[in-house]
Amino acid sequence: MKRVYVNEEWCLGCHLCEYYCAFANSGIKDMVKALKDVQINPRLRIEEAPGVSFAVSCRHCDEPLCVKGCITGSLHIENGVITFDKEKCVGCYTCILSCPYGAIMPSETGAVQKCELCLKNSFGTPACVKGCPNQAIVFEER
C-alpha cells in the first residue's frame, strides 16, 4: 500500500507541508481565503531543532493501536487507510493516548483529527507530498 514516508535528510523545515495540509482539509478552494489570518491546525506537524527537522503524520500502521483502542469505532481501516468518522467521535482522546507517533491531534470541533491521505478532500493525493519543495515527504509503495 502507498503510504506517506518522511526523509528528514531532505526536510528543510519550511513548514509548507503544514500549510498545504491545512488548506487541503479546509474545504475552501482558495488558499488565501482558507488560511488568511487563520491559526492553522494541520494534520501533520513539523518537529524541529537546530540542524534537524521532519514532518510527522499518521503512519497508517498495519496494527493500528488507535483503531483497536477507539471506543466509538469512529477510527477504522478502509483499504489499508486509517480513516476517521468525525460524526461518531466524542473526543475521548484514547487515540491520542495510544498513537506511538503522536500523529492524532484534537480538532477545533472537539473531535480528533488525523491524516487520511487527502482521500476525503478535493486533493485526492496527499497535499503535503505535492507541496514539499524537496521531496522530503513522498507517497509511495515500500
Partner: protein
C-alpha cells in the same frame, strides 16, 4: 552610516491581501531579507539584503511575493551608467577588487542569436525524427587518418582512446567547493544515466563519487588540488585546465573558510587554508611544456584515457589551438568570454576574452587549413543556452558542447550572481549544510535528465528539418547557417553567408 550610497537594486513586493504569514519566505532566505512582526502579524522585508534569487517567490504558496528591479535612478547618463557609478562607490568604500559571479552580463553581441538555421523544402526532403533513425551519438578524441590492416587483411584498431557521448553535451567543470556535494551528485548521476560526462573541476573527486568514474572527467589545473594516481585513474578522461572563459589569464582563489571537512579532504589541503590556483601552470610556458604534461598524464594512466586541454577564448585562440592539436592532446575545450564562474574579478569577467562563436569558427577553420582538424575534437562552452545554440555550434565545427550555467539553472539556480557569498538559497553554490540540503539530488538529477532529453529531442527535430540524420553530418556544415545583421568581417570569421545569400 550617515550617508547611504546604495539604494537596493531590487525591491521585495508583497501582496498583503495574499500573504498568509506562513513565513516560508523568512525560513528560506539565507540573506535574512524577510522577518515576521508578531505584534502586527505582518511579514516585513529588508530589500537592501535581497539578491533576487527568487527562492521566496518560488516557494510562496499563495503567490504573494514578487521581486522587482528598483526604479530608483541616478541622474541619467549614457556614459556613467548606474552600475558603473555603484561599483565605483563600492570601491571607494572598500578599496578592494570587485568580485562577481556567473557569466559576463554586459550587452556584447550574442552571435548565436544572429545566426539562423536552414531547413529543407521540396528537394532534399526533411526527416521526421519520430519515424526515422536519428543519430546524436558522438565520439570525442583523435580520429585516425588512415586505415590499417594486418597481413590477413583484417582491420587493425588504431583508434586513440576516446569518449562516447549519447548526445553532444557534457557538464563542464565545476569544482566541489564552488558547488555543493548535492549539486555534484546530481550532475554525476545525470551524466551516468544519460551516457554523457560531467567534470570535477579543480576540486578533486569526493570519495563517494568514484563510482561514477566512467562518466567523469577529472581535471588537472594549476593548483593540482586533489590530483593523485587513483584520481587520474578514476575518470574516463583527464582535462588539463589552462584557462577559463570567465577569467582568462588569472588563477582561482577559494577562501580558507570554505575549505572545511570533505572539501578540504577532497582537495587534499589543510582545513582553513586558502586554495589558490596560480594564474599559469608553473611548469607550462610553451606548447612543448604542455606536451610534457599531456604525455605524463597519459603515461600515468597507461595511455587508456583521452586528454583534454581546456583554454579560454582569447585573441589568438586559433594559433594556440593549433599548438594544442600538435601537443598530443585528444580534445580541445574552448571556453568563451560569457562562461560562468563562482567568483571572478568583475573587470576581468566583463572585459577579457572573446565570444565563443568567433573563437570556434576561427579554430575550426585554422585546424582544417593546417590539415590537423582530425587530430583533436573540439568542445565549446561559455554560455550554451539552448538546443539551437548547440546546433549552431556543431554547424560551426564543434564536436560537442560543454554546459554549466544551463545545468545549474536546471538545478534551480536563478542567476542571482551571488555565488561568491556562499549563501546560495538553492543549495548549489554553498557549503552550508542547511542550504546544501535544499538540493535533493533525487530531484536534481531528474531535472538534468529532463533538460538534456528535451534538448536531444529538439536537436533531432532541427537536424531532421535540415534533412540531416546524423550529428556527424552537421559538424562544420556552415552552409546550414546564415547570418542576420552581421558585418562582412563577422560573416567572414564565422565562415557563413548572410541570410538571403
Amino acid at each position: 552610516m550617515p550617508v547611504n550610497y546604495f539604494y537596493p537594486d531590487y525591491e521585495v513586493v508583497r501582496d498583503r491581501d495574499k500573504c498568509i504569514q506562513c513565513r516560508v519566505c523568512e525560513r528560506q532566505c539565507a540573506n535574512e531579507v524577510h522577518s515576521y512582526d508578531k505584534d502586527r502579524n505582518l511579514m516585513l522585508a529588508d530589500s537592501s539584503k535581497c539578491v533576487d534569487c527568487q527562492r521566496c517567490v518560488s516557494l510562496c504558496p499563495t503567490g504573494a511575493l514578487k521581486i522587482v528591479k528598483s526604479d530608483n535612478t541616478f541622474k541619467e547618463n549614457s556614459n556613467w551608467s548606474g552600475t558603473i557609478i555603484k561599483e565605483l562607490y563600492r570601491q571607494a568604500e572598500s578599496g578592494g577588487v570587485l568580485l562577481s559571479s556567473m557569466g559576463n552580463p554586459l550587452p556584447f553581441p550574442v552571435y548565436w542569436d544572429k545566426m539562423l538555421i536552414n531547413a529543407s523544402q521540396v528537394t532534399n526532403p526533411s526527416i521526421d525524427p519520430l519515424r526515422e533513425p536519428m543519430e546524436t551519438k558522438v565520439y570525442l578524441g583523435k580520429k585516425s587518418s588512415e586505415i590499417q590492416r594486418d597481413k590477413n587483411g583484417n582491420l587493425v584498431n588504431n583508434l586513440s582512446p576516446y569518449l562516447t557521448l549519447s548526445v553532444p553535451i557534457m557538464f563542464s567543470a565545476m569544482s566541489y567547493g564552488s558547488i555543493s556535494y548535492n549539486a555534484h551528485e546530481s550532475l554525476a548521476r545525470a551524466a551516468t544515466a544519460l551516457g554523457i560526462y560531467y567534470n570535477t573541476g579543480e576540486g578533486g573527486l569526493h570519495e563517494d563519487f568514484y563510482k561514477y568514474g566512467k562518466n567523469t572527467i577529472v581535471q588537472v589545473a594549476s593548483g593540482r588540488f586533489g590530483v593523485y594516481k587513483d584520481y587520474l585513474e578514476a575518470g574516463a578522461a583527464i582535462e588539463i585546465k589552462m584557462g577559463q572563459g570567465a577569467k582568462p589569464g588569472i588563477g582561482g582563489h577559494l577562501p580558507g573558510e570554505k575549505i572545511v571537512g570533505d572539501v578540504s579532504r577532497t582537495r587534499m589541503i589543510p582545513e582553513g587554508s586558502d586554495a589558490i590556483s596560480p594564474a599559469p601552470h608553473h611548469d607550462i610556458y610553451s606548447i612543448e611544456d604542455l606536451r610534457q604534461l599531456v604525455d605524463s598524464l597519459k603515461e600515468a594512466t597507461d595511455y587508456k584515457k583521452p586528454v583534454i586541454v581546456k583554454i579560454a577564448a582569447v585573441h589568438n585562440v586559433a594559433a594556440i589551438a593549433s599548438g594544442i592539436a600538435r601537443s598530443g592532446a585528444d580534445i580541445i575545450a574552448i571556453d568563451g568570454f560569457r562562461g560562468g564562474t563562482g567568483a571572478a574579478p568583475t573587470r576581468i569577467r566583463d572585459n577579457v576574452g572573446i565570444p565563443i562563436e568567433l573563437a570556434l569558427a576561427s579554430v575550426d577553420e585554422r585546424l582544417r587549413q593546417e590539415g590537423i582538424r582530425d587530430n583533436v575534437s573540439i568542445v565549446v562552452g561559455g554560455s550554451i543556452r539552448s538546443s539551437s545554440d548547440i546546433i549552431k555550434a556543431v554547424a560551426l565545427g564543434a564536436d560537442a558542447v560543454y554546459i554549466a550555467t544551463a545545468a545549474l539553472l536546471a538545478l534551480g539556480c536563478h542567476l542571482c550572481r551571488s555565488c561568491q557569498t556562499g549563501k546560495c538559497n538553492w543549495g548549489i553554490a554553498t557549503q552550508k549544510p542547511e542550504l546544501v540540503k535544499r538540493l535533493n539530488p533525487n530531484v536534481g538529477y531528474k531535472r538534468l535528465i529532463n533538460l538534456i532529453t528535451a534538448w536531444d529531442h529538439e536537436i533531432k527535430e532541427m537536424m531532421g528539418g535540415m534533412g540531416i540524420n546524423s550529428i556527424e553530418a552537421l559538424k562544420g556544415n556552415r552552409l546550414m547557417l546564415r547570418g542576420v545583421g552581421l558585418t562582412e568581417k563577422e560573416l567572414e570569421i564565422l565562415g557563413i553567408k548572410h541570410a538571403g545569400e
